[in-house]
Every structure is written in C-alpha cells, then in structure tokens.
C-alpha cells in the first residue's frame, strides 16, 4: 500500500515515540497538518515559530527526550532559526521539520522560499533537504539518531511540499547506517588509568562539571565519584543541578558571575577535572591566567571540545556516564583534607550576599523565597540577563534538569516558551520562569498557549525598569551612560496577564513577596504573572569583567 510523504512523516514520528510536537502551520505544510489532525500525539500550536522551537527545546531539556517542532517554509523557517541556534549552542536534541516549496520551484525565488538548509547549516548538528519521498523515512530515522546520540544537537529536515504529497510504500528502517558517524561512548582504559593516577597524587583537585553531565544522565555517577574521592565540585551554568548544591563539597557556579570560592578554588587548584564542560569564555575569562598551576583532565564526548581553548593534559573522549563509572571503580581517594578544609573555610567566609534596605524588594530575595516556598523542588527556567544570574546564584539546585536556561547563545525570550515545553514534559512539577521585564516581552505572545493548555506556569518578573545586565555593564564599564537600557515604559503586566486569561499580581513591598508566591503556587490551572517591582539598580556580584581573571573579580564589598 502506498501512502503520502506527509503520512510517512507521521508514521515515523509515532515510531520514534513522539508524544508532543510544537509548531505553526503554513501553505507548504498543510498536507502534513492534514494528517496531524488525527495523529495520536499532542500538537501544541505556538503563536510564533521561535516560541515553538524554544518550547520543543524546553521539553527536551526537561525530559531528556528529543524535542520536535514543525514550521512552514520561508518566514516560518527563518523565525525558527534563533530557537535552533539556541539549542545548538547548548547541545539540545531537537528535530525541527520545516516545509519547503516544491522541488521544481526551489531556487526560483518562489513565494515563501528560503534556503533553509543553507541558513541553518552553521547552527545545526546536521540538516537534510528531502529530495524524494523514497528517502523520507530513512532521513527521519537518521535525524532522530543524529540529534540524540553523541553530543546531542538540533537536526533540521526540510521537506518540499511535493515530497509530502508524493506516495510510496512505507518502510521504516530497522537501523541507522552512517559510515561516517560513530560517536565514542567508552573512554579509553589507558587514559582512564592515567587520569586516576593523576587524581590520586593531586593535592588541590577541583571538579568542574558542565551540561554534558546532565545530557548524559550522569548525575548519579558524578555523585558516586565525588563521594569516593572527596573532591570539591563546581558547575557551569549549564551544569547546575548536576550535583546537589546543598552538599558541603558543592561550590556552586564558577566563572564571570560564579561564587568567589569556586573561582578561587579553581584558580588555586593543581588539578582540574572537567566533566562534560567546554571551557567557555564566560568560565575561563582570560585563558592565560585561568589555572596557572593546574593540570587538566577533560572528559567529553566531543573530541573537538578537547584542547579547544585550554590545553588538556589527559583527554578522555567518551560519555560522562560511562567514564565516571569506570573511574569510580578504580580511583583511590587523594589525600586532600587540608585543601578541602581551606575551601570550606573560604566558602563560609565568602557567601553570596546582597544588601537589604527598608521595604524595597531585592531581586535576590525573590529568588531565595521562591526556593524556600517551593522547597527547591521546582523546575526553574530563566530569561537572559541579571534575572538569569540571580536565578543561578540564589536558588539551590539539587536535581538535574531542574534549571533550564539559554547558556551558550544567551537568548532573551527563551525562558517562557521553554517553560511551556518543560511543563508539558513534567506535569508533576511546578515550572517557574524567572524573567526580566525586557526579556519577557520578547515572547510574551506564548502566554495564550499556557492559558489554552491550562499550564500553571509562574512567570516571576524581576521588574527593574531596565535591561538590567546592560545597565550594569554601562554602570561599571561605560561611565553610567544608560544609553537605551531603560525600559520603564512597559505594559501593565497585571492587565496583560488578565487580557490573556491568566492571573496577574503586582508586588511592590518586601513583605508581600511570600504571599504572592504562595498565591501563585496555589493556582493549578492557570499561568500566573508575578510582577515584582525590585530595586532598580541592583547589580549581580561577584563579577569578573569579560576577558579578565579572578584577581580582577569585583565583589559587592569592593564597590
């Protein structure tokens, strides 16, 4: 029996176990939507393609499954690009299906034509233009395989409308045969052995864990490794939740806005054990002053991440989960009591703090109260800016996949649509988007999606009337010339929430914070916007200016 390309696509998605798909229709994908009409999975109609892709991304990050989005050609596909690039930078498994004009029209500047494979090439792990219906099933199978294996990433499948309409027999390939793509999972035993010997003789080791630990579901293995070796551990922004921050050995985040003690410990270390982390410049600052005395062990599934910016002494290419498991089996604990004591002392003496004056609400206080009142059990998504850094600093992450944020690309407008995806992936959890008044306006149109699907997402706006992070840099590094960073001209967020059919609560006094959060948490069927009017010129500290090093760290006390 022959079926159409559109039906084949749906059959493939079923075989891949897709439960929810996000997207937006248009001319060339109507044949696909025709069959989505009664497909057995959920389809979430976003209100902008960028929202659809971020939602699929949030779903993937919260669930560990592949996120799926569908858009039309031309403007639909170009609107999706920011979402795709965001997922690419953070290694999130996504399959994004875009419609394309018919094969006969490609290259003719046809109506709503864009060179989607060309445009998305630099921001995808791989992409496909399907040229005939016979290859469609194989391509979908390969796309899911490529997206979810090795270092995960987004894959685009561009499907011309005539391919969707053409018919053929449906055969879903049993397995993927790609002679050129073979991710390595097991670390090399000799390298593992060498790494363990180095660890055993180290005096001042620190573990630096990144998003790779979460992507490979290696949190339990990491915990075992820390337990056996007793080595202190810091995580990147993407690694938050990879190791419980409530543990004494946890040093929280390092880097530009990392804790004093994480940065100092890494700087003073004689051995840095990088696990699924890629030495981003937000972590290293000035590379030449980053770790003057440390040897480096680097565990990563992506060989290209090894020795890219920091020279590595012992590379171990493989999956964090498998490698940590092997290492824990053979490593002997190093003698580092003195080092650990010194770090614990440093940690006690230099906690993250913020000032408090009168009744003005400090943004950090809001984050802390969210942590307390949710007992640390929520899934937090963030926008980008100060809100993101405070969310990273003042909430204690204890579970993987409980912190979802655009790390690599730093995409404003990510957090809320991602929260929609996360809430669909985790109906059992409270999902809270910690937002800035600037960022939330970048994808606020998705609010109606949350209302429509009765998702009780809380949007906690830390409303400072500024593009706060920009203002902070202008204050510290550009003579306080607040050029176009003031956005006090904003909509009434409470009325806006109400217009969408959500709940809106304005909070102007410190003593109202708890009640507002409780009120929001009691809502189980509707999204809630909490509009916290916070201290307008509060800054994120510590801060290591871009390209500088630990010795240039500006702490609150120094200002």
């Amino acid at each position: 029996m022959k079926i159409s390309g559109a039906e084949i696509l749906i059959e493939c998605l079923k075989k891949e176990g897709v439960e929810v798909m996000f997207g937006y229709p248009g001319g060339v994908v109507i044949p696909i939507f025709h069959h989505i009409f009664n497909a057995p999975f959920k389809f979430i109609l976003a209100r902008h393609e960028q929202g659809a892709v971020h939602a699929a991304d949030g779903y993937a990050r919260a669930s560990g499954k592949v996120g799926v989005a569908l858009t039309t050609s031309g403007p639909g596909a170009t609107n999706a690009v920011t979402g795709i690039a965001t997922a690419y930078m953070d290694s999130v498994p996504l399959v994004v299906i875009t419609g394309q004009v018919s094969t006969a029209m490609i290259g003719n500047d046809a109506f709503q034509e864009a060179d989607t494979t060309g445009i998305t090439r630099p921001v995808t792990k791989h992409n496909f233009l399907v040229q005939n219906v016979e290859e469609l099933a194989r391509i979908v199978k390969e796309a899911f395989f490529i997206a979810s294996t090795g270092r995960p990433g987004p894959v685009v499948i561009d499907i011309p409308v005539d391919v969707s309409k053409a018919e053929t027999k449906f055969v879903y390939p049993e397995e993927v045969k790609l002679r050129s793509y073979k991710p390595v999972y097991k670390g090399h035993p000799v390298q593992i052995e060498k790494a363990c010997r180095l660890i055993e003789t180290s005096k001042r080791p620190v573990i630096y864990a990144g998003g790779g630990v979460i992507a490979s579901n290696a949190a339990a293995e990491l915990a075992e490794f820390v337990k056996k070796t007793g080595i202190p551990i810091t995580t990147t922004l993407m690694g938050l939740g990879a190791y419980p921050e409530t543990d004494p050995l946890a040093l929280k985040m390092l880097g530009m806005h990392g804790t004093f003690y994480a940065n100092q410990a890494v700087h003073d270390s004689d051995l840095l054990i990088a696990v699924g982390a890629r030495f981003d410049d937000r972590v290293t600052g000035n590379v030449s002053e980053f770790i003057p005395e440390a040897k480096v062990i680097h565990i990563d599934i992506d060989p290209a991440s090894v020795s890219k910016s920091v020279q590595v002494d012992i590379p171990i290419v493989g999956d964090c989960k498998a490698v940590l498991h092997e290492m824990t089996k053979i490593v002997k604990p190093p003698q580092i009591q003195e080092w650990v004591d010194a770090i614990l002392k440093m940690k006690k003496e230099n906690p993250l703090t913020y000032g408090s004056d009168g009744t003005r609400i400090k943004p950090q206080y809001v984050v802390e109260r969210i942590y307390e009142l949710t007992k640390g059990d929520a899934v937090i998504t963030t926008e980008v800016g100060q809100n993101q850094m405070w969310a990273a600093q003042f909430y204690q992450y204890t579970q993987p996949r409980s912190f979802i944020s655009s790390g690599g690309l730093g995409t404003m407008g990510f957090g809320f649509p991602a929260a929609i995806g996360a809430q669909l992936a985790r109906p059992d959890k409270r999902v809270i988007d910690i937002a800035g008044d600037g960022s939330i306006q970048m994808n606020i149109q998705e609010l109606i999606v949350a209302v429509q699907h009765r998702l009780p997402i809380i949007i906690a706006i830390l409303n400072n009337g500024f593009l706060g992070m920009v203002r902070q840099w202008q204050q510290l590094f550009f003579d306080k010339r607040y050029s176009h960073s003031c956005i006090s001209f904003s909509p009434d967020f409470v009325k806006l929430a109400e217009a969408y059919g959500a709940v809106g609560i304005r909070v102007e006094k410190r003593e109202e914070v708890d009640e507002a959060i409780r009120r929001a948490l009691s809502e189980t069927e509707k999204p809630v916007i909490l509009d916290f009017h916070v201290d307008r010129e509060e800054n994120v500290y510590p801060i290591i200016p871009a390209g500088k090093s630990v010795k240039d760290m500006i702490t609150r006390e120094l200002v």
Binding site: T117, P122, S180, P303, A304, K308
Partner: protein
C-alpha cells in the same frame, strides 16, 4: 605551518558548503581546496591546504571529523603523500624572448598549449614546489595571467 588535509566525503550535495562554511565560520584560512571523484562513485575527496599552528590544525581536523558526511580525515605531509598540482601560465613573450621561455618550459617539461603574437601559454604539472619555481622563473617575462588548480594528494603505501 602549511598542512595538506585530505578528506573523504559522502558524494552528496551540500557537503562542500558544509566544509567551506566550517572554515569561514571559524576564521580558518584555506590556501586551496579541490574536490573531485574517487574510485568509488559515492565518495568524493577534498584536498584542503590550510595554514595554522598545531592547535588550529588540530581543531580543523576535529571539526571536520564532526561533520556527519565526512568519512575520513588524513593529514598529509610531503613525505607521506604524493602531491601534484597543475598550473596554466600566460606570459608576454615577444618573438625575441620566445626561445628563452621555450628553454625554461623544456627544463620543467611544461607544454605550450597556446601561442599568439604577443603571448605564450604554458601548462605545467608536478609538485607544488616545482610549480612555484617555474612561476618564479617566468616572472621576468611578465606574467599576464596565471591559474593553479590547487593540489591533490594521495597517501603513499
């Protein structure tokens, strides 16, 4: 340091763009790039000459290896591979100078592929270094136009 990187790729459309894009996106400079068929219909080979320090070359190779359609990446140096290039050189050669040009061509076993009242066009193949010397020797005669194919490289057994 100049490296000659030989890359076996799936013979599919878009692969060249992927490879070229990788270089441009990361700011690596390509000296030359050739793409051609191999003994296997579904495999093409790209010979890429790229300059950079060890770290850059290492990254180039790793990033190439990451591309899904790339089957094998090999770093060829002059001892491990046979390398050839072809050049066409058009020189201003008034009749009085022709014998001299002809002699140079002879030494390099270059062929004269076109001749006009004022010019001669020569074709030379060989190791890239040899082609460099050939061109140097022709320079005094005023080179009007010159084109090189970029090198191809095959590993020795």
């Amino acid at each position: 340091m100049r490296h000659v990187i030989s890359v076996k790729v799936e013979n599919k459309f878009g692969v060249l763009a992927r490879v070229a894009g990788l270089f441009s996106a990361r700011g690596y400079n390509i000296d030359s790039l050739t793409v051609s068929q191999t003994e296997q219909e579904d495999i093409s080979v790209m010979t890429i000459v790229v300059r950079g320090d060890d770290r850059i070359i290492e990254q180039v190779k790793k990033q190439l290896n990451k591309l899904i359609d790339i089957i094998k990446v090999t770093d060829h140096n002059e001892f491990s591979a046979v390398q050839r290039e072809l050049a066409l050189v058009k020189v201003n050669a008034q009749p009085a100078k022709r014998t001299e040009v002809y002699q140079i061509a002879e030494i390099f076993r270059a062929e004269i592929v076109d001749i006009s009242v004022k010019t001669m066009t020569l074709e030379v193949t060989g190791e890239p270094g040899r082609i460099d010397s050939f061109i140097e020797l022709l320079r005094p005669y005023a080179i009007k136009e010159m084109i090189r194919t970029g090198r191809v490289s095959m590993g020795k057994e």
